[in-house]
Amino acid sequence: MNSEEHIRELLPLYVDEVCTAEEKIYVENHLSACAECRKELEELKTTIRLVKELKPLDASVDVVRQVEEKIRKSSPFKLWGFQPIPAALAVIIILLLGATLHKYSLVYKYCQNEPDIPTAAPVTSPEKDVVTIAPQETSLQKEEAADTVMSAQKVTKEEKAGRTAAVAKKRAPKSPAPPSSYLVEMEVDNTENGIQALRNLAENYRVKSNQGPENDVFLEIQGQSFGEFMNELQHIGKVSYGLPSEEKMEESTAPAHSSASRLIRIKFNKNR
């Protein structure tokens, strides 16, 4: 940029006195020696004056009432920057979050109320893809103890993966529901007599019984008489309370049972 061009660019700013001190001295020195630039400066001043004369041109507009009306008519949400789509997404997220929290609060509440499940660690049975919760005590002197010893839970393979203890507890029924089957081994001198005695006992207790094909009897016992009935078994023969049955009961021999009853398979063996 040559000095003429530079001066020409500075002149409009010189009029407004917004040049730096150095620029001002530079312009003034130049103007004192250059008539053409002095004329240019006067023309610029005239231009500014002509434009400024437009200034009083002012319309008597009043938009206060219109603005007030629009503010009043518009939804307060819209006026304060309400965005419908993000708001809808936010509502969905809040609802989902609320539903999730509610779900887990129910699990927590359930776990708080649920009776203790046997404290043994879950053991995986690879052959049958089941998780069995094995009892720690074997004493059946008390009904409660018997319940604990005999209780078991079977959980499918799909369910065991990644399952937390809380979720496992949630899946358990609220009242201590009986496991599907128990195995009791009984040693008697005579198998037939033993089976007959058992069936008589079952009849006395009004317990449904079905004889199986392998010196075994399937019983369905209601919860409240379970402990007493099990004690009576000791009068028939030597009772061995093993782990819950791993043998699947056949539909044909196992009596249909309700969720409130216990299904027991009693297998008879001869005394050695």
Binding site: E9, V51, K55, V63, L79, W80
Partner: protein, 196 residues
Amino acid sequence: MTEPMDIQLVEMSQKGDHCAFSQLVSRYQRKIFSLCLRLLNDFEEARDMTQETFIKAFKHIKTFRKEAQFSTWLYYIALNACRNKRRSWKGRPDTISVDETIEMEDNQMQREFEDKSCPNPMRDVECAELQQLVQSALNTLSTEHKEVIVMRDIQGLTYEEIADSLRCNLGTVKSRISRARLLLKDTLKEVMPDEF
């Protein structure tokens, strides 16, 4: 009783006080309308853009930071509104409608502007012609040059206020004003040589 300062009215508006905001509208509507009218050359559009400016300002009042001036913030909104409006016109010729005949409800009337520069009625016509020529010359400038001339020479904003309104630095403002004035001078010399 002294009038509340802008910042006080802004704070009240931020708390949802409509009356406080109305005071701000009342205080700045003429300046904003004047800016819009000069940039758009259309009375109705300028009035709409003025309304739009204040509606937007109210809508976003909570985002206003107090370190800036409320007036320059309004100018920023108004300038953007006018740019968007001009873009939407797409080749519509600039019209000078400052004294056009307008339709009223049951009759026609000449749009009236308060013109303090011509106190002598004998000079009204001459003044109107002069203003038409200056406005025409102004309309030949690009939007960015026109904006700075209107803000500086018509509205009387400082260079710093213009920089805040345009959200650019002071050097850019100086450069634009310098260039705009030189271009405008050349145009005016052509259309009204008697004045020079």
